[in-house]
Amino acid sequence: MSSHGLSASEIARKVRAREFSVTEIVIDSLERIGSLDGTLNAMITIERDRALERAAKLDSALASGEGPGPMTGVPVIVKDNMCTRGIPTTCASRILSDWKPPYNAAVVEDLEKAGAVILGKSNMDEFAMGSSTEHSAYGPCRNPWDTTRVPGGSSGGSAAAVAAGYVPIALGSDTGGSIRQPASLCGIYGLKPTYGLISRYGLIAFASSLDQIGPFARTVEDLALSLNVLARPDRKDSTCSSSERPDYLDFLKVGSLSGKKVGIVREFRDYDLHEDISRGVEKVLRILQNAGAVIEEVSLPVTMTSGLGAYYIIAPAEASSNLARYDGVRYGLSEEAEDLLSLYLKTRKAGFGTEVKRRILTGTYVLSSGYYDAYYLTAQKVRQIITREFTEAFSRVHTLIMPTSPSPAFRIGELVDDPIHMYMMDVFTLPVNLAGLPGLSVNGGYTSEGLPVGVQMVGPRWGEGEILSMAGVLERELGPARIAPGGLADEN
């Protein structure tokens, strides 16, 4: 009997009931990775020996009667921008290719404390900049539903890993859509929590005021389980809320949505949407309505017209500063050079990819004296207006429904030289980061070509529970996310 395809909650239950040993679970996962990752390239580092060693330790702890944690035996994968002590953490960049952090990210500590087994680090767009996981120094990751297509990005490796059944839970980070968009393109759940819900300590920064870690899963229960493990106050992250968090599993007991108001954002209709995506949104709305929710149209005019512009000023501005530390002096790539300036120039030229350089240049420009007011300051004002628009909307409705991405998975190479078009992939997701809100991508069906279509649910600040309740109702109708063939079907 194989454990393949089980949810994290099921694995934890079965390990607790001694139906499986942790070692068996981990071996099953490693085998799945071994058979698919040559094709998918979802992983940058696979820590086989370390994982088996840890599994054995957990097994002997269980045997000696030690109480299991909420995730004991659950194999997980974390995006390669989260620090893992002694394990390479590359951000998919040449500049960090040999870097092994001397410390663990807060989320890594939390996962291990809960009993999870980290199998490795997933592929991503370099420094989380991109929407396709093509901008990786380790080569593009492929979509497990169609291996000629991208899995989305920047957390494409984690999304592909969960969709292809490597593991039930993987962590991603979301700065402008980097969890939700790949979840959408891979047909699974991807949750970006409220800014400040989960500690960023140990997450290698792209844009500090927008970055947030979140889980990918194939069931809503696994999302709630993940939040229970990861969401907590952390003194090491001053932007992380110090409030106590609820038990997120409690929100899944909701059966009816009567009394709930769901907002549909009027402006998304102005966009050139793939018709299957519009259909997915309609389907989700219908299910929610049948469960008792009232649908109401809301308008986010500034958000939908100016969000993208504000985002592509603020995010690169912060990135240009966050990425300045990679100078070849202390760690990471360091090119031979005659003097200090050429050390900087050579190292950064060789170490960063095109997209990262593009954003560093943009960010440096918008912060320069003489341009700051026109760009950065204006963008911050727009950001405030966007936050107000959302606050206004949430005074009327409990959640908002929007598409996650304007299109399903596109082909590898299709947009890689068209940055503006690529940036457009985040148009529905990035306003949520600007306002610091929680957003969840759920699967809303498939296109005629069999590509998953995502629908986004957005909640007010700290409204994860509300979103999970609604997602739970949807899941009862639609079933959990399906496991993708991961390229095996193509071979047959």
């Binding site: 921008n81 989260m82 620090c83 953490t89 951000c91 960090l96 870097w99 952090p101 001397p102 410390y103 990210a105 960023r200 300590y201 140990g202 997450l203 290698i204 920064a205 844009a207 500090s208 005021s209 003194r235 090491k236 992250d237 001053s238 932007t239 501005a317 912060e318 240009s320 500063s321 300045a324 530390r325 100078d327 002096v329 202390r330 760690y331 200090l340 900087y344 440096t364 912060l367 320069s368 004296s369 700051y372 950065y376």
Partner: protein
Amino acid sequence: MKTEFFPVIGLEIHVQLNTLSKLFCPCSTAYIGTVPNTNICPVCLGLPGTLPVLNGKVVEYSVITALALNCRINRATRFHRKNYFYPDLPKAYQISQYDLPVGEDGYIYIRGEGGDMKRIGIIRLHLEEDAGKLVHSAADGRLAGASASYVDYNRAGVPLAEIVSAPDLSSPSEAKEYVSLLRQLVRYLGVSDGDMEKGSMRVDANISVKCSDGRWGDRSEIKNMNSLRALERALSFEIKRQTAILEEGGTVLQETRHWNDSEGRTISSRSKEEAHDYRYFPEPDLPPLFLPEGFVEEMEQTLPEMPWVRKSRFIRDYSLSETDVAVITESPDLADLFERCVREGASSERSANWIRTEVLRVVNERKTSVGDLPLSSHVLAQLLSMIDSGKLSNTAAKEVFDCIIETGAGVEEALKVCNLQSGGISGSQLVEIIRDILEKNSSVVETIRSGEDGNGKKSKFLQGLVMRETRGQADPEEVRMLLQELIES
């Protein structure tokens, strides 16, 4: 009419706050004399993924300092990133403050050039983190000629308060006066050692020269002045240099200049065109800081007596000279020692005198601080009271004092070590000694008796002999009277 030139000087002073841990991480702030790169952690090394956490003690220290400088405290403040590349700056940006510093619009009074009190404006006091230290392999530790450079990050993240004065200083000596006062102030507040040589207080000067014909030269920023003397010399040099340019009808360039102490001149290091664009923007890793209700008031309560207040109180209450008071109140440790001695019964005049001379002598000899001497105010007061009451001569007391400093002993013990009697030598014991001396010096006694000691020199000589014999333990007045009595009898 002769053209006149007036220097216009403003100072930017970085004061290292002496908290135990760094500004944004729990690492120790000890970086002098520590093994390089031992007081470091992922946060102050700026490793990828790390985040700053503000040290609350630093906020307290900065607010206390800003209050002492009569600044308006910003209840809502925030941090900015100052971006530039340099190997000693681990994140390639310095977390600093920009538009909302801790304190603004303060002032402090110094004794101005003409002797009157002069108000010097304080534009702002803001917090920022220190950088690491570059160590070059050249023999003299300089960059020139070095084959390699090393970085020590022990200092990276040490908290600094930058205090920016208004351009209200008009001479090198006023600048020196202002820096001395600030140094004294931070020591009184207990927020910094204020040591320029060690770098815990670093002074940069902005200086320009204004001409009576209306011309006003651009300012230059002078760096690398590591002592008060260097500050005075550098400013004097710069005034001469800029004045000479203006006298010839030239233009003073806006630039950064480096003070070279051994050559005694400033050297241009960076012009305005080469100036950095620091691309300041709000630090997204730290939320804005809101000082809680009542915090500023609470800090106000903890303010000690200001040095200038203490000074005038000492002059008034202890009727001491201004020069004495200036020395005694220079450091709070000295002033405290003085006041405790007086409270424990020593006379104020003798306490002041001894602290100025003996205490400071051993402090300088031992290159230590008052607080580190093995000397309590109780012991010093006891010793000084013995002089006051005539039980010990000043000379003998010095011997005892040295013994106390040497061994850490109490007064009684030190007296024993020095072979001295605690009660002094008087009465019959003293008479014995005097008789003995008179016998041995009968010719001198004869001279006195014959009335040929008009100027009293011979009597003084005998008195000296008695004091020497009693090793200062006799009351000079008693000796004089007994001598007179015994010679005449």
